[in-house]
């Protein structure tokens, strides 16, 4: 039932083979990095190392190099299978050359060729440095098919990804040779091994910091939000990887501290640096496999979010809408403060585990008290992006579905005054009140689909299609926003974009129609004028005549929706759209009429309709920022005020992200 903008999914074979592909990819990466590590450590072992150990490192390098090359063969086949969604037997014969011509195919071919040259350099010539460089280039060659490159991210992001991957490769590739050196050293040479580790630490520590920094950069780009971290396979995979990373960092941290001590005082009895390294390697290998597995999933930023918890944190909404929330929050805060004070006192008296446990217990109690105070109910679809555009056609369709299915309880205009509402307990929700905007459209989709918990409202999952349920949610949101939009007037509230403009089609060419807001997002500001014939049309004509050049200069596009053919736009070449009368115009006017209300003309009975002319100023990010009604401002907007408003909007950065629908 959960659905995003459109139904899209990995192919059937790609889904079933993703895990295998991830494992093979991780194994190939591990072999490639180990090859580089063995070559480098054999070339420059960091401390005095036995000839026998160096020979062992050389042999291990050859083994890792062979594994990498052999692993690339099934990786190529599996990748081809995933791309064509055909059984292996088919793609090996018929479509193999087609895959070879793609970027992914080229990347694997390049890795194969470079790895072969690297192995040859190491095996026959013992040219370890050349082999290591070729090995690194082989790893780097596959960056050409990375997510950030495919997405055409900014150059700094692509650079951060390259640094991140290559440093991680060097760090991870160093662990196998270090283990071999440690195992070979034996008890009599452990101090020399400690010296090797200390020297390696000088490289590893800053590398880890760089990996951390670039990881921060890339994670914010890929995951982007809490819901995506917990509500997508990719995000959950990252959390599991996080646990593995903690497993890597913990022994690395302890080992680094002890290296200083061992370097100064010598190894104590029972101390074994190799054991720490073994634990670190096991977790590092788990991280590699997790990373490879995650790489086969849809990136969190593009996936449908299925929220796994029955609540979500929304402190402002919770405090505004839930009784006793403020008291609970205060009690939780006081408990937390008391817990910290008590545990501090206990710690001073005796540095015992009991003090730590006491603090942890009290903090846990504080969290349990506070969570209900700052959270609201949530559902699997809470963060799902609507499957339909927020446009006039959808909203009008939603209004029809609403009248047929919802008005009997919620009332024709949403005031919870439908024919059967009187006897209902609890009463149906008044959809014109601000509480509607406390919920996400995904929340409403869940209620429309499954019914409202603890109330008489039924679910319409079997009665209405997914698109129809989203349409009715869009209508309810527009209806509610319209009542909140009474505050919108001729003056712009600086840096407060919140009222989502309703998209509408404009003619693109002679026959087809394209959504206007979606096409101009981030580019032009828009003055949408909804007009019927009347005296006020003269004011519009006057504004247009005065402002022609200034509109073009300030990138102000005009959309004139004429409810009757009164030719407001005659002779105005800068007019983007002068729609003919008809169903389309009627739909746009009907949908936008939901945003007509003001404090002077609240029209709670929903009987007045649109004034002669209404003008809406929409910023370049798709939010309504100002409105002029001809019955309240007979002259409508004057050119001077309009240009002032446009310049004010021009100075604003993107503050609210329209696509989130996070009302």
């Amino acid at each position: 039932m959960v659905t995003g903008p459109t139904e899209s999914s990995p192919s059937r074979i790609a889904s079933s083979m993703a895990l295998v592909l991830g494992i093979v990819q991780g194994a190939v990466f591990a072999a490639q990095t180990a090859f580089v590590g063995f070559c480098l450590f054999a070339q420059a072992p960091l401390a005095e190392t036995k000839t026998q150990t160096i020979q062992r490192l050389d042999r291990c390098a050859v083994g890792a190099g062979i594994l990498a090359i052999v692993g690339l063969i099934p990786l190529f086949a599996l990748r081809a299978q995933a791309m064509l969604d055909e059984p292996l037997a088919v793609i090996c014969t018929a479509d193999g050359p087609l895959i070879a011509g793609t970027r992914a195919g080229h990347a694997i071919e390049a890795a194969f060729g470079l790895s072969t040259f690297a192995l040859a350099a190491q095996w026959w010539r013992r040219a370890r440095l050349l082999a290591a460089v070729l090995g690194i280039v082989s790893i780097a060659s596959r960056l050409a098919t990375s997510h950030v490159v495919a997405e055409e991210a900014s150059l700094p992001t692509i650079g951060a990804n390259a640094i991140h991957v290559l440093l991680a490769a060097l760090w991870f590739g160093s662990l196998p040779p270090l283990l071999v050196i440690g195992w070979e050293a034996g008890k009599d040479a452990e101090l020399r091994f400690v010296e090797t580790l200390a020297r390696f630490s000088k490289f590893a520590f800053p590398s880890m910091l760089a990996i951390l920094g670039t990881g921060f950069w890339l994670a914010t780009d890929t995951v982007a939000s809490w819901p995506r971290l917990f509500g997508t396979i990719y995000g959950l995979g990252l959390l599991v990887k996080l646990l593995c990373v903690v497993g890597v960092l913990a022994p690395a941290f302890i080992l680094r501290r002890r290296l200083r001590k061992w370097g100064a005082l010598g190894l104590s009895a029972g101390a074994s640096p190799v054991n720490f390294l073994e634990v670190e390697f096991v977790f590092a290998a788990a991280v590699v496999l997790m990373a490879a597995a995650i790489s086969q999933t849809i990136p969190a930023e593009h996936d449908v979010v299925i929220w796994p918890f029955p609540f979500r944190f929304a402190p402002i909404v919770a405090l505004a809408s839930q009784p006793n929330a403020a008291w609970l929050a205060a009690a939780g805060g006081a408990t937390a403060v008391a817990a910290i004070a008590l545990s501090r006192l206990a710690w001073r008296r005796s540095h015992s585990a009991q003090a730590v446990l006491m603090a942890a217990g009290a903090l846990a109690a504080a969290v349990v008290i506070v969570i209900p105070a700052i959270s609201v109910p949530a559902y699997p679809t809470t963060y799902v992006v609507p499957a339909v555009p927020y446009d006039a056609h959808v909203i009008v369709r939603g209004s029809i579905i609403y009248r047929e299915n919802c008005a009997i309880c919620h009332g024709k205009a949403g005031h919870a005054d439908g024919p059967v509402a009187a006897g209902m307990k609890p009463a149906p929700a008044d959809l014109t009140q601000p509480h509607t905007t406390y919920h996400t459209m995904g929340d409403m989709f869940w209620w429309v689909s499954r019914g409202y918990p603890g109330a008489a409202m039924p679910g319409f999952e079997s009665a209405l299609s997914i698109e129809d349920r989203w349409a009715v949610v869009s209508y309810v949101m527009a209806l509610s926003l319209g009542y909140q939009a009474r505050v919108i007037g001729p003056e712009i509230a600086p840096r407060q974009p919140w009222l989502h403009a309703i998209d509408f089609p404009v003619p693109a060419g002679r026959q087809s129609a394209a959504p206007f807001l979606a096409a101009t997002m981030g580019k032009a500001r828009l003055l949408a004028i909804i007009s019927s014939c009347g005296d006020s049309a003269e004011a519009v004509r006057k504004t247009l005549a005065q402002g022609h050049a200034a509109f073009e200069e300030n990138r102000l596009a005009l959309a004139i929706i004429e409810l009757a053919s009164c030719a407001i736009a005659d002779g105005q070449t800068f007019v983007v759209s002068a729609l003919d009368s008809g169903d389309l115009t009627s739909e746009i006017a009907t949908a936008w009429a939901l945003y007509r209300r003001s404090f002077l003309n609240a029209d709670d009975t929903d009987s007045a309709g649109l004034p002669e002319v209404t003008e809406f100023l929409i910023d370049r990010f798709g939010f309504v920022r100002a409105r002029w009604r001809s019955d309240e401002n007979p002259e409508l907007v004057e050119i001077r005020d309009l240009l002032h408003a446009v310049r004010q909007l021009q100075a604003e950065p993107e503050i609210n992200r329209r696509s989130a629908h996070d009302h």
Binding site: S146, V149, L218, K241, A291
Partner: protein
């Protein structure tokens, strides 16, 4: 605050990220849009999140009278992310678009959506 904590967690979770972060090309927008009602569309435009392989990415159209033949050759814009297919005159009614996209990193996705021709 939320984005800060997310980012902080993200740091650790990506700490030892290895190999290129592969992804899948997702349909971000389309013309005609999903669920929209349009008049005699002449072109199908599919915008994806990532660059796609032109030879392996395609779309089909099925309307009330069945599968539409005579679709134009699919073209990919210079940005590599937008697939364009010119359309023959369509019969009025609901049409379903079935698309397949193979991103340049080698991942294949597919999906469907509908629009209505007035």
């Amino acid at each position: 605050m939320i984005s800060f904590i997310t980012a902080t967690l993200g740091v650790f979770s990506n700490l030892t990220s290895v190999g290129p972060a592969f992804a899948h090309s997702q349909l971000l927008a389309s013309t005609p849009a999903s669920g929209s009602e349009v008049t005699a569309p002449t072109e199908l435009v599919l915008s994806f999140s990532e660059a796609i392989e032109p030879a392996l990415s395609k779309a089909e159209l099925t309307c009330a009278e069945g599968k539409i033949s005579g679709l134009g050759q699919s073209r990919v814009d210079a940005n590599g992310k937008t697939l364009r297919i010119s359309l023959p005159p369509l019969p009025p009614g609901k049409c379903e678009v079935s698309w397949i996209a193979v991103s340049v990193d080698g991942h294949r996705t597919h999906g469907e959506f509908t629009f209505t021709d007035r």
